[in-house]
């Protein structure tokens, strides 16, 4: 799987010029696809939620259990996305800049979280980090329990988000010109100065894309989290789980209200990340 990182050139809205055919077809297809697959279901969701009215929203939102679940979902997703991005840049760096035995194998393994059923990942992680697990046991002896609490959610979400971070920055790292490092060195820059002032800053827009993807993915993640989180209401219960619980209690309105709130908040955060990204791209002169 590859993720495009190049910013599409901005074109004036609907002006058919140039030699490339198929503009109408492509745009029509894109819009109808977006309409049927994305917008229509979302519209239905909003319609359903709006039946709750302002009062319904207020009631649902004032429930401490809902408040906690939303806070937990957004908070842990954000922290996990940040961590995954940091780790992802380092992993992408190692995979791109250095040649070592088994590099291709490791490179292929990065994509595994994309392919693995997330429930499998959750069960595996839970088994591994449980107090009697391979990694959990030594941690338990230190007095750290990392499953059945928010830390477990964090572990699962980093696992899920990592490939997004790696794959978005990797092509940019591959493009870094060796001459940039040499130029910095001839100007007297030490190795750490070259890395942090010359090589890493141009990766920022791509890293932000990775961050946004990992965050969005983590927010919606359900399968892996429920096996490792413990799902204690008010402690380690995530918003997507709460939606499922509401649905199983036939509280459709409550479920859609939470969903709409999540959707709105996620959209807002992604918009902000996109704006930061556009700004940082412009700062580099890629208008």
């Amino acid at each position: 799987m590859s993720v495009a990182v190049a910013a599409p050139r901005r074109r004036p809205f609907i002006r058919i010029t140039g030699a490339l055919p198929g503009f109408g077809l492509a745009l029509g297809y894109a819009l109808s696809w977006l309409g049927f697959i994305v917008l229509l279901p979302l519209a239905a969701l909003f319609l359903r939620a709006s039946s709750a009215g302002v009062e319904g929203f207020a009631v649902t939102l004032s429930d401490p259990r809902v408040q906690h679940a939303l806070l937990l979902s957004f908070g842990v997703s954000a922290i996990a996305a940040l961590f995954a991005t940091l780790a992802g840049v380092i992993i992408a760096w190692a995979l791109t800049r250095y040649d070592f035995p088994g590099r291709r194998l490791v490179d292929a393994m990065v994509d595994l979280p994309f392919a693995l059923p997330t429930a499998v990942a959750g069960i595996a992680l839970a088994a591994l980090y449980a107090p009697d697990g391979l990694l959990g046991a030594p941690l338990a002896r230190l007095g750290w329990q990392v499953v059945y609490n928010p830390i477990g959610i964090f572990i699962a979400l980093v696992f899920i988000g990592l490939p997004y971070a790696v794959r978005t920055v990797q092509p940019l790292i591959a493009e870094i010109d060796r001459e940039l490092e040499e130029a910095a060195a001839t100007l007297g820059a030490a190795r750490w100065q070259t890395v942090f002032q010359v090589l890493v800053p141009p990766l920022a827009p791509a890293a932000l894309t990775g961050l946004a993807l990992a965050f969005a993915r983590g927010l919606g993640e359900y399968g892996s989290v429920i096996f490792i989180a413990g799902n204690l209401p008010g402690v380690s219960e995530i918003a997507p789980l709460l939606i499922v619980i509401k649905l199983s209690e036939f509280d459709y309105t409550g479920a859609t209200v939470i969903a709409v709130i999540m959707l709105a908040m996620a959209f807002l955060m992604l918009l902000v990340i996109n704006l930061i990204q556009a700004w940082s791209r412009r700062r580099m002169g890629n208008v």
């Binding site: 001459e179 940039l180 040499e182 910095a184 060195a185 001839t186 100007l187 007297g188 002032q197 002169g285």
Partner: protein, 355 residues
């Protein structure tokens, strides 16, 4: 500051890039390293900069032995073919970078740095461009920023690797004249690598010709052109045709003709006579000035006439040989293609066959 390299040798995975190169670049000089690709010219420049390490030999800046110094310690200014500007920094930040990375005790004040940046922007005729990003500049402007960045740290020597290689012909020409001017103003000892002989001959005080990891000749452009030290230099620099000859007792023998050609400084045996267009004076058979030149004459038939920017160039196939030489056509040339002509040999250089 002068640069002295002695007996440099370097291999890349078994391929010998340099095979014992020694060169003295005088203080304040503008020197070109000229050679075909793979001749080792860029490797030599990168070893001087400290970007590569030689397996053997040493590099001196003035009295300082720089062989073991790191790139950072050498204080060289280096300009890359593809500019290597920092895309995420403005032009001003690029130029200031070498000053800002210094340790606090050696770093100029904020005001001093920005004054230096302004001064360099003015020198590069880039006033008002300080706030732009490299992506908003043309190739020629980028290369000027790269040069300003290299000069900002007041380097001991200035090294340029194919500085105009990525630019189009017009910009190249402008920048060439302009680099000459900058060099005159700043007086840095400057070494630049090029594969473009026009660039080397026009710009440099002296030119070092490299081939297969060795220096073939070092000299002023006129010297290189008029007195090539080897067959390679004769063929690589300027237009030249070669004619198979034999050397007997210091005289050059071509077929039945004995030519008193100069530069026959070789033992008796087979060799090549290298002739530049200006070594030959052409006259049609029966033309008034068809007399022999000081070194003898050759006969041939015209196989082509070309218009060049500065006159007409005639291609002549020599009698009895499958060799075509070129000569400038005199104004009153009476015959065209297929016409019989004589070529008075005024000069030329002879080198042994296996050189």
């Amino acid at each position: 500051m002068d640069i002295r390299v002695t007996d440099l040798a370097k291999e890349f995975g078994g391929a010998r890039a340099l095979r014992g190169v020694s060169l003295h670049i005088r203080s304040g000089e503008l020197m070109a390293l000229l050679g075909p690709s793979g001749s080792g010219k860029t490797t030599l420049l990168r070893i001087i900069a400290g970007l590569e390490r030689a397996e053997r030999g040493s590099v001196f800046f003035g009295e300082t032995d720089a062989t073991r110094l790191s790139v950072q310690q050498r204080h060289v200014g280096f300009v890359f073919q593809h500019y290597a500007l920092f895309r995420h920094m403005t032009v001003a930040d690029n130029i200031a970078y070498g000053l800002r990375v210094r340790r606090r005790s050696e770093r100029p004040s904020r005001a001093a740095i920005s004054a230096r940046v302004e001064e360099l922007l003015a020198l590069m005729q880039l006033e008002g461009y300080g706030g732009r990003h490299p992506a908003q500049l043309s190739g020629g402007q980028k290369q000027r920023v790269a040069l300003a960045r290299a000069l900002a740290v007041d380097p001991r020597v200035l090294l340029l690797d194919e500085p105009f290689g990525a630019l189009d012909a017009k910009v190249r020409k402008d920048l060439r004249a302009w680099l000459r001017q900058i060099h005159a103003q700043t007086g840095h000892t400057t070494v630049f690598v090029t594969h473009d002989q026009d660039e080397a001959l026009e710009l440099a005080d002296r030119v070092a010709i490299l081939n297969h990891g060795r220096i073939e000749q070092v000299g002023a452009p006129d010297e290189i052109h008029a007195q090539p030290a080897s067959a390679f230099v004769a063929s690589f620099v300027g237009d030249a045709a070669r004619v198979p000859v034999r050397v007997r007792g210091g005289k050059v023998v071509f077929g039945e003709e004995v030519l008193e050609a100069p530069g026959a400084a070789m033992a008796d045996g087979d060799g090549w006579l290298w002739l530049r267009p200006y070594d030959l004076r052409l006259a049609g058979e029966g033309d008034a000035d068809a007399a022999g030149g000081p070194a003898g004459q050759l006969g041939g038939v015209i196989v082509g006439v070309r218009r060049t920017a500065n006159g007409r160039r005639v291609e002549v196939r020599l009698h009895g040989l499958d060799v075509i030489v070129e000569a400038d056509a005199p104004a009153g040339l009476s015959c065209g293609e297929g016409g019989q002509v004589t070529l008075a040999v005024l000069g030329g250089r002879v080198f042994p066959e296996n050189s």
